[in-house]
């Protein structure tokens, strides 16, 4: 059940959604410290603009919209920042190495927008509706984009 913003204290919101914000910002910024800064900044912005919230979407979606705006601003500041993948996690587990390397190559070919969309669906598990709210696009558009990215990934993996 989605919670309304006025029903929760900031501490409760932080306890509930901090990992979502942290993981989302990490997926975009590709850096642990930047992600932690983002988490802090997102909740500061949230507290400042709390009274302006009109309940158009869920609190979680709103927090992720703030996260997205912050991360894109950060990426613009860095200029030319590209999606680079950390290879330190390779060879750690019994993960299929061949599949992993090929996925790494495939994901490295995605743009930031495409990567973000696939992250929101496959890792965070959001619905089409939530994704469309976070990205500020329509549901059919989110759906079509997602299918296109999947097709693209499949092509890379061939």
């Amino acid at each position: 059940m989605e919670l309304l913003v006025h029903e929760l204290s900031v501490a409760e919101l932080f306890n509930t959604y901090s990992y979502d914000v942290l993981a989302y910002s990490a997926s975009l910024l590709k850096n642990r410290d930047d992600a932690k800064d983002a988490l802090q900044e997102v909740f500061i912005r949230f507290m400042k603009s709390r009274n302006e919230f009109k309940n158009n979407c869920s609190v979680k979606t709103w927090l992720l919209i703030i996260t997205r705006n912050y991360c894109y601003t950060k990426l613009k500041e860095k200029k030319g920042a590209e999606v680079t993948l950390d290879e330190s996690f390779l060879l750690k587990d019994s993960f299929n190495i061949e599949m992993h390397i090929s996925l790494q190559e495939a994901f490295s070919k995605l743009t930031v927008d495409e990567y973000e969309l696939i992250y929101l669906k496959e890792f965070a598990g959001y619905s089409y509706k939530e994704i469309s709210e976070i990205l500020g696009i329509t549901i059919p558009n989110a759906k079509v984009k997602l299918f296109r990215i999947r097709k693209q990934l499949k092509e890379y993996l061939k």
């Binding site: 850096n31 988490l39 996690f89 993960f95 890792f123 299918f147 990934l153």
Partner: protein, 179 residues
Amino acid sequence: MKHFEIEINEYLDGELEPEAQTELFGHLSACADCRNIFNGYLILKKESAKYLGKEINSILGEVKTVVTFPVNGTKKAIPAKSGIFYKIAAYTSAAAAALLFFLYINLKPEINYLKKEQVRVDTVFVPKEKIIIKTVIQKEKNNYVNPEANQKAYLTYISTLPQKEMVFLGLPENKKETL
């Protein structure tokens, strides 16, 4: 034959309507190409989720939970009542209560009440000037007071009183001297 690629994607995302699902399954049973497409997307979805999870964990260092803040109204942690502290406190209190009860029962001070037959009430009449009633309580049975001796004792008592009290009693002022 029409392929159901979009429906397969929607189904794997958990967003395909139940009626459309029936149609999709009917088609999959008859179309080998769509079954291959289905398997391809299923593997891609699973592996993508794994890959992204590992990537996020590598960035965040296996962070699963972020520092949590105490929420208003949360009760303070209370030590378990089965702890050694509670046991010692409970046994000590019980022993103290038992000791106090024992002392109360055994060291209770005795109160001796006089019986009816141990009490005698005498009325003393003083002739002429005034009648004064004096109650004498005697503890011992059969120890009757001699009225004459009583009267004598009364007069002795009167003689010791100061002048004011003698007036109060209605005695003449020079009575003390005569006594």
